[in-house]
Symmetry: C2
DNA sequence: TTAAACTAATACTAAAATGGTGTCAGAATG
DNA sequence: CATTCTGACACCATTTTAGTATTAGTTTAA
């Protein structure tokens, strides 16, 4: 059971790398080499970050990517949801039909409690705190 | 992203059912019907619980399963690890070679914090609290 | 003005995890 | 001895995750 997939992990590392490089555009290739991430995989990851507005891209030679926001405004929960989808915990919260005694399902309550905590802990952590 | 898979979910529901039935042996089939769980799937799940010593089985006609331990001693973390494996969070904690700057990896620290909390919240929850 | 170094977009494949089924054997019971 | 169970697996389908590749288009610099 993994809480953080490679995509999220790679994204954090790439963003960390970028945050140390100011305003200059860095190529995905350079990041991939430096952080030991498969290059084409990282490119796809970058495109997600670009569409999310977290990094900005510049095409062409000497192009690349750079942070588009202050690292203090990027939260782990945003990255996790971007690459792993919303935290669902268990189907019984999503597909309400499958749990016969849903109303009194105590597991559900417990799990929701845990969810709230998880949001507090890794969720609200800012990218700036990681670098 | 899911914290609880169906196997774990089914296991909890089955154990909940058993906990209301005292010392008599109940067939997997009956539990499956009552809790709306695919029968053969539940059978496989029960075998795991049996091997883990959480339920005891009796073969043959009028056989079945029953709780082998006090529900208060069964913790969610045990069930999660049984069916979903240990909580690993990210590879950078497991395969120490892949993260180049592991020593100062701040994500690692944060994630470990979250892990501890997660253990407290759903992990240490007792089966008896869920039923 | 063209080659080189980039991103954009997306299709594709491989591997692993998850969810679910089926079967054959053997034990207990009535 | 037929029925109702578990034991022990092998098998399959689907989804998720990881990773590769390809074609097109943009920018720059020689």
């Amino acid at each position: 059971m993994k809480l953080i997939t490679k995509q999220t992990d790679y994204a954090v590392r790439a963003l960390g790398y970028l945050s140390g490089r100011g305003d200059t555009f860095i190529s995905s290739g350079e990041i991939a080499r430096a952080e030991n991430i498969p290059a084409s995989f990282l490119r796809r990851i970058m495109q997600v970050l670009i569409k999310a507005g977290i990094v900005a891209a510049r095409e062409g030679k000497n192009g690349g990517v750079r942070l588009a926001v202050n690292p203090a405004t990027v939260r782990m929960i945003q990255l996790i949801e971007l690459f792993q989808g919303k935290i669902e915990l268990s189907d019984c919260m999503v597909r309400k039909d499958i749990c016969p005694n849903r109303r009194t399902c105590a597991l559900r309550t417990k799990i929701q409690q845990a969810e709230r905590r998880l949001f507090q802990d890794i969720g609200k952590t800012r990218l700036s705190e990681l670098i």
